[in-house]
């Protein structure tokens, strides 16, 4: 597979403090376009806070975030999405009164344009947009194997279906990089394998995927590169094999072995 060798995401000296509590301290790393990268770390290591900062949900205390060589440190969440970076959340966040299809159609908001005025009067522009959005959403539902559940209300989806629908929804935004926060949480072994296959397939189209995970097996299995956070600091970054044998990572997870 050919890869474009440029850093799609570049984080430099990122620090985030909540009052006196420092959640992230001087975290720097880069992610090459087209990669599939895992972020791991013990509870409270700052993984989700990192995603919140990158996606514009939290204001950064100091440091810089570059996305496609553009400074996005101070952008609002929907502006970041507009540039091509989307995220999911630890708990599934569905538009629960809408069908699965409508959820994904909502994701096409940025990619299929219309206007409030056209929508009000049902002008041809609005009808065309509707058609296009529906087709695109249907394609994505096929990709995540939910096309037969398109008309089911989102609140009736199972957890595994809901997570796949979320992935379809974020793909619909025309993103170039996906940030997934614990996509496998609560899934059983089969569903995990399906998820891994799906993420591989998405990645094979050139999409960059970054995921936070508790399931270390899944990460080692899936990712080309792993970032380890501990106490808000970058502890290690490297290939799965290197991370597995890294003494610092071992200690972060298992604790030190000296006497009490």
């Amino acid at each position: 597979m050919s890869r474009i060798a440029f850093d799609i995401l570049y984080v430099d000296g990122l620090t985030k403090a909540f009052g006196g509590l420092v959640a992230l301290q001087d975290v720097s790393f880069n992610i090459a376009a087209g990669r599939i990268v895992g972020i791991i770390g013990p509870n409270g290591a700052g993984k989700t806070t990192l995603f919140n900062c990158i996606s514009g949900l939290e204001k950064v205390t100091s440091g810089t975030i570059l996305f496609k060589e553009r400074n996005i440190t101070r952008l609002l969440p929907h502006e970041v999405v507009k540039l091509g970076m989307v995220r999911t959340f630890q708990t599934t966040r569905l538009f629960r009164h809408m069908t699965a299809l409508e959820n994904v159609m909502a994701g096409t908001y940025l990619t299929v344009r219309s206007s409030l005025f056209a929508d009000l009067l049902l002008l041809p522009k609005a009808l065309r947009a509707e058609q296009k959005s529906r087709e695109k959403a249907m394609d994505l539902l096929k990709l995540v194997k939910l096309d037969d559940l398109a008309d089911l209300r989102a609140e009736n989806l199972t957890l595994s279906q809901a997570r796949r629908m979320e992935i379809a929804r974020v793909l619909a935004t025309g993103a170039e990089i996906l940030l997934l926060d614990e996509p496998s949480a609560g899934l059983d072994d089969n569903e995990r394998m399906e998820l891994v296959a799906l993420l591989r397939e998405i990645n094979s189209t050139g999409m960059t995927v970054v995921l936070i995970e508790h399931d270390i097996d899944l990460i080692i299995n899936l990712c080309e590169e792993i970032i380890v956070l501990n106490y808000g600091r970058l502890l290690a970054k490297g290939s799965p094999a290197a991370i597995k044998n890294n003494e610092a990572v071992l200690e972060a997870y298992l604790g030190v072995s000296d006497e009490l």
Binding site: L254, G255, V256, S257
Partner: protein
């Protein structure tokens, strides 16, 4: 020390949130006075198990027995009087109240005007365990440092006169020195009081140092249980992924 009879038994426990199952047929048995640890990476269901035992979460099926009696239908606030106390991971101290008020609330389940002597005695005991809390007794609990908050959380549980203390990740977010201090105290308490520790930890090596027996949990299933020494050996061998499948 002899462990003659079981303190609590978890039998074929299934539990979760909404439609999501977190625990699948968990079986655990802990003898009185026998400190036990439950280890496993985060997200494997450790906290959920503690929530079920303490009554904050209802199981889908299965049962828990405490001193031979079923805990079915006993709400969390009543389990405290039975002698079950949970020290939650986030400490959950009452930040807007003073240290002493927090400790007094710890004794809520048995405190009455006729038992003021016992209350004073318990308070003195707790202050002897963690002298720093005595200095801070008038201070708002929210102003304590992380380590002091953990000490307060443990002390508050001690005030309830528990027989079983469930500890959820007492080391989270604390500096190594303080972690060691707290673990030293826990080991002490287990020896001197009629108190059984059931410890949930990510910091596996440390946890296995102060207990006799350990359970390894992975994705909501108990993989196996063994003496602390053998479990420690196993964990050191396979590394932090813990997975029996992956590392064979």
């Amino acid at each position: 020390m002899s462990y003659n009879y079981p303190l609590f038994n978890v039998h074929e426990l299934i539990a979760g949130y909404g439609g999501i199952r977190v625990l699948h047929s968990v079986n655990i048995s802990v003898d009185r006075g026998e400190p036990t640890a439950l280890v496993g990476v985060n997200g494997s269901g450790k906290t959920t198990l503690l929530r079920v035992i303490s009554g904050l979460l209802h199981q889908v099926s299965g049962s828990i027995e405490f001193l031979g009696k079923s805990l079915d239908g006993v709400p969390a606030e009543k389990r405290v009087a039975f002698g079950i106390c949970l020290v939650p991971e986030s400490r959950e101290i009452f930040a807007n109240q003073s240290v002493q008020a927090n400790l007094r609330l710890g004794a809520y389940s048995w405190l009455s005007s006729s038992k003021m002597d016992l209350y004073k005695e318990k308070l003195d005991f707790v202050f002897s365990v963690f002298p720093i809390l005595e200095n801070r007794r008038k201070q708002n609990a929210g102003t304590l440092s992380g380590g002091e908050q953990q000490m307060l959380a443990i002390s508050r549980a001690l005030m309830a006169q528990p027989k079983l203390m469930l500890l959820d990740e007492p080391s989270t977010g604390l500096a190594p020195l303080i972690v060691r201090e707290i673990f030293r105290v826990l080991k002490e308490l287990n020896k001197t009081l009629d108190l059984t520790l059931f410890l949930v930890e990510q910091n596996t090596r440390l946890a296995l140092k102060i207990v006799k027996k350990g359970y390894l949990i992975e994705r909501g299933r108990i993989m196996f249980s063994d003496s602390a020494e053998s479990l420690l050996e196993y964990v050191n061998k396979v590394g932090f992924t813990h997975s029996a499948v992956e590392n064979k």
